[in-house]
């Protein structure tokens, strides 16, 4: 476990900005005065931050996949309509396909 804590400490050991910017780095110290959300996120060894990070990745990837899915279903519709149009062959449906795709 001690090895894991060195990972936490490492940004501090290379932090040359703390002296000059210490007033702007007080978020962690002043956590008691901040909002309930921030307090909740900072509880339990910051595990909720890890949860938040994984949720951000998950939702962005999910959003991307859903977007691709929507495009695929639009394409599917266009393919189905073009199949219908081959059998009936009306001009209106050809126009519809072109506007859909």
């Amino acid at each position: 476990m001690s090895n894991i804590f060195t990972q936490d400490d490492s940004p501090v050991s290379v932090d040359t900005l703390t002296e000059s910017y210490s007033e702007s780095w007080e978020g962690v110290q002043g956590i008691e005065q901040s909002s309930a959300f921030i307090q909740f996120m900072a509880s339990d060894d910051l595990i909720w931050v890890v949860l938040g990070v994984s949720l951000i990745i998950w939702f962005i990837l999910l959003f991307f996949i859903i977007r691709v899915d929507k495009k695929v279903s639009r394409l599917e519709k266009a393919v189905e309509e073009s199949g219908k149009q081959e059998s009936s062959g009306s001009d209106k449906e050809i126009q519809d396909n072109q506007s859909a795709s």
């Binding site: 290379v14 900005l17 978020g27 990070v53 991307f64 073009s82 072109q98």
Partner: protein
């Protein structure tokens, strides 16, 4: 490639159960950037291939790789911002070069897609965006590796210190490397899906 993705999923899921504190963000935040680098490197390769033999398939692949890379880059920025709030005490700081330069890199690739929409002629669009992409990807190592290493930074790896090799515990590495491979696998899988979609779309459009 399916094997890589299955490997990525099956290895990454048990890790999340043992996550205890923010040091474990290493498995999530850092592979985002690695994946983005790989995606942009692939986009670079495909752009060069396009300029070589001018087949639309290379342009499609370059666009997809850039899109996936941008998605992972945005993931990296947002996760980094959340992580920074609870370790450095701020959502965003202009004193941190790596943070701002990676945001700049994201803007370069957003501009790539804006550039693409500016052309209606397909070949012209493909050619100019391939050239732009080659320039854009060339800036990435400078923005994300060289300049941040010269400047004082809160990220590990500032001022010439080794970012990863000495300060990372060996237990973390066992999980970190499969996580990197897993995320890269997911990225390649996403690219493959989008490429197949674009190919089918092109086929149906040419048939209509």
């Amino acid at each position: 490639m399916t094997l890589v993705v299955i490997l990525g999923f099956s290895i990454r899921i048990p890790q999340i159960d043992i996550l205890e504190q923010t040091a474990r963000n290493l498995f999530l935040h850092v592979p985002m950037w690695f994946t983005m680098m790989v995606a942009f490197a692939m986009a670079f390769y495909f752009s060069i291939r396009y300029l070589n033999d001018e087949q639309m398939k290379w342009d499609r692949k370059a666009e997809t790789a850039t899109a996936v890379g941008l998605v992972f880059g945005i993931c990296g920025l947002l996760t980094g911002s959340l992580w920074a709030r609870f370790t450095w005490g701020t959502w965003w700081t202009f004193a941190e070069p790596r943070m701002n330069l990676s945001a700049l890199a994201m803007l370069i690739f957003v501009a790539y897609f804006i550039l693409r929409t500016a052309f209606s002629d397909e070949e012209k669009r493909a050619k100019i965006s391939a050239v732009y992409n080659i320039f854009g990807v060339t800036t990435i190592p400078f923005l994300l590796y060289i300049i941040p290493r010269q400047l004082p930074s809160l990220h590990p790896g500032a001022e010439g210190n080794p970012a990863f090799s000495e300060i990372t515990a060996p237990e973390l590495r066992i999980i970190f490397y499969p996580a990197v491979i897993g995320f890269i696998g997911i990225a390649i899988w996403l690219m493959d899906i989008v490429n197949r979609y674009k190919k089918v779309k092109e086929l149906t459009e040419s048939r209509i």
